[in-house]
Symmetry: C2
Subunit: 412 residues, 2 copies
């Protein structure tokens, strides 16, 4: 008997028939002899309606505490309906809201962090043979205020519950089959990975693969609970995200990702003296703008060029702040939002030299100019002109994945 | 400084603009120097949507526990939105769900009874000068399950909170101006009562006046908290429901009510022997059918006729059960759902003889036959043919209220 946590997103529970489908899947798992916790999001569309009401009554600036009270009704609705549907299939189930579940978070409304889960009630439900139907996305702070975890919080809820219970697996049901070597819509030869390590998944997710929330992968990594990303439409195996030791083959490159949601800002001819970086980045930080890549090069004339990227949604604001800072520094500012970040990710990079070199060569052969480079232990990212995105992704996938850095992991 | 509990129903919070209106009213009361608790229902229409979803997923028989989890989202939504709207008017407010409020009930899902209210959090909110925005209709049982109070539960929530806090008044905002001597749509001379006693209100409410839930009046009576029933559309005084001692004049008849939602079943020629009543009423009780009036008369031939009334919605079922019972008793059954119950209610009846007699004479003068009679200390009810409802109500109102049993209470 295994302890399985299953997570279904808003689309999977988007209407009564879909909720019934989820109920069938859950009951099948339970009847196969497993203890089952199912974690759900608000029905698709529900959250949009709640957000609209909150923006209306809050006049564009809803009170964070009350906004959480409002949004939390979405998942509460789903858990009640799913528990009913499971009952109609003749299986016991009990719904648990964030506070009933003992999902304790800090008091940061709208983006709360999980602190601990009191598993007493969950275990009691499971021990009596019932399915625990838990509300994703929501928690409760020490003063018994309702909190929500922010965007994609339901993945995090599910994984956190799995970690707290020491579950055998956390299954994330989604509208894709699993994690692919790259975007299959862009590269038809993209293959589903059977297994991937937490660290690889973190790089893939944060780089735009968008299958799993970064926070949930971090949780799973810390507690060593495997995540199984799989389709909610059929029962074939998806992709297991596991500890590095459990990934049998270490591919040099297991994935090629892209992100077109960043923009680039360059300071030219900045005097190279202490405190300059602070004068550039402090205003951005105060404005809550997250800077991703930063590159600095010393010029021969004693000035320096500094380039960084920001989310494209913050670009206009960041550019204005940059221009203000540049005026004080006697520097010039350029901006470009027609860029893309292309990354190759793979555990095997740690042991294989020359991946960066090969990557640059592949791009050069296609005539693609590299504007910025950033590297980590298992990832190399470059910034290129946006219009070359598809070409770059295909060429790198061909070179590293299809041709095989080593033997690629095969997938059924 | 007074402590005021205000209750607004689903229509009063039916859309964003109405919620903003309620917020303005609440803030006015607070700025006039009062501590304010506001208790709200789900937005009009919201509950219907939730009921439909629950019936769908529950296939007509939703799990009671989960049904409560589902329905409770309705009020949770309203409290969040109202608290936001109050914030936008520059006043502090905090929403409290049933469990945050400490609204402890028994475990009878869908029709829970309030056991106690832990006022600690409520007092803390009020003490810091904020408005407490509490969810009506919902509570939490000893095992931290969400419960709901059943139909009209929000009135009961509001009054219970007022009682627990020892509030100076519980204001019930509604779409009528107050409690009238009879239905103004039926009798244009009907007058709004300035004050009415709890007991009179109980008889009025349970007899079909439908302004206040019976349970909430019982609560207010037990704790001696006055209820002020008033319009949500303007600020004129409505009707105060208070202790008998606080009702200055004791009208012989303060109201004439009618109820067309009952049906009548008669057993003819029942042998008059012990145990017969049980054989008639036990099956009804087992079917959850509430019997209202019961009249029995001994005939000269040693058999008896037994007549009782049931809600018209249960009539078909009750008639079938009665026929089954009659077969075993060798009796005959007749039914009639074209009846009305007309009642006169008044504290002064206790001291004035002859009210019943006068009532029967008034009806006789109009040629209305009385089928059943039932009396209490402050009420006389008769069953008549339904088609005479308006005629009976007008005649009785003319005789007792307009003509004045004593000096009628005047109302501004």
């Amino acid at each position: 008997m295994a302890l399985v946590v299953q997570k279904f997103g808003g689309t999977s529970v988007g209407d009564p028939d879909r909720i019934r489908n989820v109920a069938r899947r859950v009951v099948e798992t339970a009847r196969a002899g497993n203890q089952v916790v199912v974690c759900v999001s608000a029905m698709a569309g529900e959250t949009d309606g709640l957000v609209a009401l909150g923006q209306d009554l809050g006049e564009g600036d809803p009170t964070p505490r009350e906004y959480d009270v409002l949004l939390a009704t979405g998942e509460q609705k789903t858990i009640a309906l799913l528990a009913m549907a499971i009952h109609r299939l003749g299986h016991d189930a009990e719904s648990l809201t964030g506070w009933q579940l003992g999902m304790r978070t800090d008091a940061s409304h709208n983006r709360a962090r999980i602190q601990e889960i009191d598993c007493g009630r969950l275990r009691a439900v499971l021990d009596r043979g019932a399915v625990a139907v838990v509300a994703g996305f929501q928690g409760v702070d020490d003063d018994r205020n309702i909190t929500t975890l922010g965007r994609g919080g339901s993945d995090t809820s599910a994984v956190a519950v799995a970690c707290a219970l020491g579950a055998d697996v956390c299954e994330i049901y989604t509208d894709v089959d699993g994690v692919y070597t790259t975007d299959p819509r862009m590269v038809p030869s993209a293959r589903k990975l059977a297994r991937i390590s937490f660290d690889e998944m973190l790089e893939m997710a944060s780089l735009g693969a968008k299958v799993l929330q970064v926070r949930s992968v971090k949780f799973a990594k810390r507690y060593g609970v495997p995540i199984h990303v799989r389709s909610s439409f059929h029962s074939a195996e998806g992709t297991w995200v596991t500890r590095e030791e459990d990934v049998m083959e270490r591919l040099v490159v297991s994935g090629v990702t892209y992100n077109r949601d960043e923009a680039k800002i360059t300071f030219r001819k900045v005097e190279d003296q202490p405190g300059v970086a602070g004068r550039i980045f402090d205003p951005l930080s105060e404005a809550g703008i997250v800077v991703d890549m930063i590159v600095q090069n010393l010029s021969s004339d004693g000035t320096t060029d500094m380039t960084f990227t920001v989310p494209v949604g913050d670009y206009a604001n960041a550019l204005k702040l940059a221009q203000d800072a540049a005026a004080g520094l006697g520097a010039e500012v350029e901006g470009d939002d027609a860029i893309a970040k292309i990354s190759v990710v793979g555990l095997g990079m740690k042991d294989h030299a020359g991946v960066a070199n090969r990557m640059f060569n592949v791009l050069a052969e296609e005539g693609i100019n590299i504007q910025m480079i950033s590297t980590s232990e298992i990832k190399i990212s470059v910034i290129i002109q946006e219009k070359y995105t598809e070409l770059a992704v295909r060429a790198l996938h061909d070179a590293f994945v299809d041709a095989g850095g080593d033997e690629p992991r095969e997938e059924g």
